[in-house]
Amino acid sequence: MTTTEIAPAIVPDFGDEDEGRKIAFVCSKGTLDMAYPALIMASGALEQGIETHIFFTFWGMDMINKKTMGDLKFTPVGNTATHMPMALTPFPGMTTMATRNLRKSMAALNIPDVPTFLSHLSDMGCHLWACKMSVDMFDLKEEDMTDDLDGVLNVSDFIEIIAGAQTMFI
């Protein structure tokens, strides 16, 4: 009798148990720090072969507006997690400095900027939708928004598309 454990072949479970699983993110914020969570989690979901949808609404439209998507900002104002004296945070230049630092930290981790990230997600098969009401409210035309967008949807259609999805509102 041998003490060495030899299995015929342990094969990783790339199973189809995720077949039919869906994840949806609603992005409603237009700041740099609130843009990344959905993008990073969507990327993880797509790597798992999960059908993934992102719906951009309200301030989240800044993430897909060609004029703003490459220039999202991060402000320490009112954000105690920066551990700065709150009275200093509204000073001129603080938001610029905080934004630059966050960009640098993300780049050091090889995390792409928002426009590049959206293209990467689109290449992975992510569905990107703009909110119809927000498009009307901000008076946006199709050509104002990223070419990676799948389309403009009203809320009712979006809710229909994501039937059964795990949904996160950010």
Binding site: T4, E5, I6, A7, P8, A9, I10, V11, P12, D13, F14, I40, S43, G44, E47, Q48, G49, L109, N110, I111, P112, F117, H120, D123, M124, G125
Partner: protein, 105 residues
């Protein structure tokens, strides 16, 4: 660390079945690993990915992520999803005899 018999050879694998010893893999193993996960016959395009993964791991000690294969290896992400359907990052690592990628992006 458990051992597994792959193509009449004993190799070290982790609990999920990913090979753990870089030097225990050679090209003769890849078709059998691919078969194990239902990939079918490996084409030249599959080999291009496998070779990039192996050389990048040798250089950096880490299995490259999909994005790294696209940006450094110049193999488009869409193509990776075609070659290794559904879960390309893990499937290509498995066939190349490498651990799962640890990076998020």
């Amino acid at each position: 660390m458990p051992l597994a018999a792959i193509a009449d050879r004993e190799v070290s694998v982790d609990a999920e079945g990913f090979m753990t010893e870089y030097d225990e893999w050679d090209e003769a193993l890849a078709p059998k690993l691919a078969e194990n996960i239902g990939l079918g016959v490996l084409t030249e395009d599959h080999w291009k990915v496998i070779h990039f993964l192996r050389s990048d791991f040798a250089e950096n000690g880490e299995t490259p992520t999909l994005r790294r294969v696209a940006t450094v290896g110049a193999i488009p992400t869409k193509e990776l999803f075609g070659l290794f359907p559904k879960k390309p990052a893990r499937k290509m690592a498995y066939v190349a005899g490498l651990p799962k990628p640890v990076g998020c992006i």
